[in-house]
């Protein structure tokens, strides 16, 4: 969990480093940061999820999935609430990178809610099928979310920032693959069932990420004199 927070903090600091301006007001920037945090959590979950080493953390893995989905939902619906023109981005004529964001959100909701202990058995036949789909959906999620972040260029404007971010995004599935090769795959049968239950780690992560986002928006507000 500290690693996750550090990672998210780094991502936000990185976007501030060369693009503290333009700022667009506290709420707009806060919602932007929530989106970035959601993507950070997704990338983080992709990285060491499939090895036996990750098994003791499977509950955290699942609950962080819900955190990512929650942050992304706040990000999307928040914009619709504070800025009604954003509705244009839900139209079929919207820029492709916005529709990609919409797809990413739908996939994220899908991948989390169909993977909870009870529903997984309902939606997938067999554990290997589940894992194949989970991996596939994760890849679609990384591609569409990356397209959305880089395409809007709202947070990462300079070409070098976009290039670096693209490299990190490509590294996510590669690292996940490498990690699996290095540490071995999970057994083909699921671990012992455990009840869906919130854990302190996930709740704390979520709160910390929201606080980080608010700090990010405050920094932008302070840097920008005319906002």
């Amino acid at each position: 969990m500290p690693a996750l927070i550090a990672f998210a903090g780094f991502v936000l600091a990185f976007t501030l480093a060369a693009g503290a301006l333009p700022a667009a007001g506290f709420w707009w920037d806060l919602l932007a940061a929530l989106g970035l945090c959601s993507a950070t959590v997704v990338a983080f979950l992709g990285w060491d999820s499939e090895s036996p080493a990750a098994q003791p953390r499977l509950r955290l893995h699942r609950n962080l999935g819900f955190v990512a989905a929650g942050l992304a939902t706040g990000h999307a619906f928040g914009y619709l609430i504070i800025d009604s023109t954003v509705l244009e981005y839900l139209m079929p004529a919207a820029p492709a990178y916005m529709l990609a964001g919409l797809v990413a959100w739908v996939v994220l909701i899908g991948i989390t809610f169909t993977s909870a202990p009870g529903s997984r058995k309902r939606y997938y036949k067999g554990f290997p099928t589940f894992r194949r789909w989970h991996r596939g959906l994760f890849l679609i999620l990384v591609v569409t979310a990356g397209w959305h972040i880089l395409g809007t260029g709202f947070s990462l404007e300079a070409p070098w920032q976009q290039g670096l971010a693209a490299a990190v995004l490509c590294a996510v599935p590669v690292l996940a693959y490498w990690h699996r090769r290095r540490y071995g795959t999970l057994p083909l049968t699921p671990g012992p069932p455990h009840a869906a239950k919130a854990d302190a780690g996930a709740v704390l992560s979520c709160l910390t990420l929201v606080v980080l986002s608010a700090a990010y928006a405050t920094v932008k507000l302070l840097v920008c004199s005319g906002c």
Partner: protein, 117 residues
């Protein structure tokens, strides 16, 4: 063999579908009603007329911006990109330089109805 067949058929179908979706999007963008926008010359007295009124010098023709940019099929699908580049681009540049600037992100700051020229 089966896999190769799927790739050989699937990839062109995917590319074709993307292309069709793209054409459909252009069609929709050309024909949608104009989104309300506010603009006041009074806020832009420091900007040279031809930065915006390019048609004063480049012989694209006479008229108002949106007469051409909403109706001329050669440009009306691009209005969102071109006007965001022009308007938002300048605001972003000025804000980043620490100068007075107009809206850089918030859609509602520009996209509200107004009747001032």
């Amino acid at each position: 063999m089966q896999r190769l067949l799927i790739i050989l058929i699937g990839v062109p179908v995917l590319i074709g579908a993307t292309w069709l979706a793209h054409l459909g999007q252009l069609e929709l963008r050309s024909n949608r009603p104009m989104l309300a926008v506010t603009f006041a010359h009074a806020d832009h007295t420091t900007v040279s007329c031809v930065v915006c009124h390019h048609n004063f010098i480049d012989r694209t023709g006479p008229g108002l911006c949106f007469d051409c940019h909403k109706n001329d099929p050669s440009v009306n699908a691009l209005i969102e990109d071109q006007f965001h580049d022009l308007c938002r681009g300048c605001h972003v540049e000025r804000q980043s330089a620490g100068e007075e600037a107009g809206p850089t992100r918030r859609c509602d700051s520009c996209h509200t109805a107004d009747d001032a020229p």
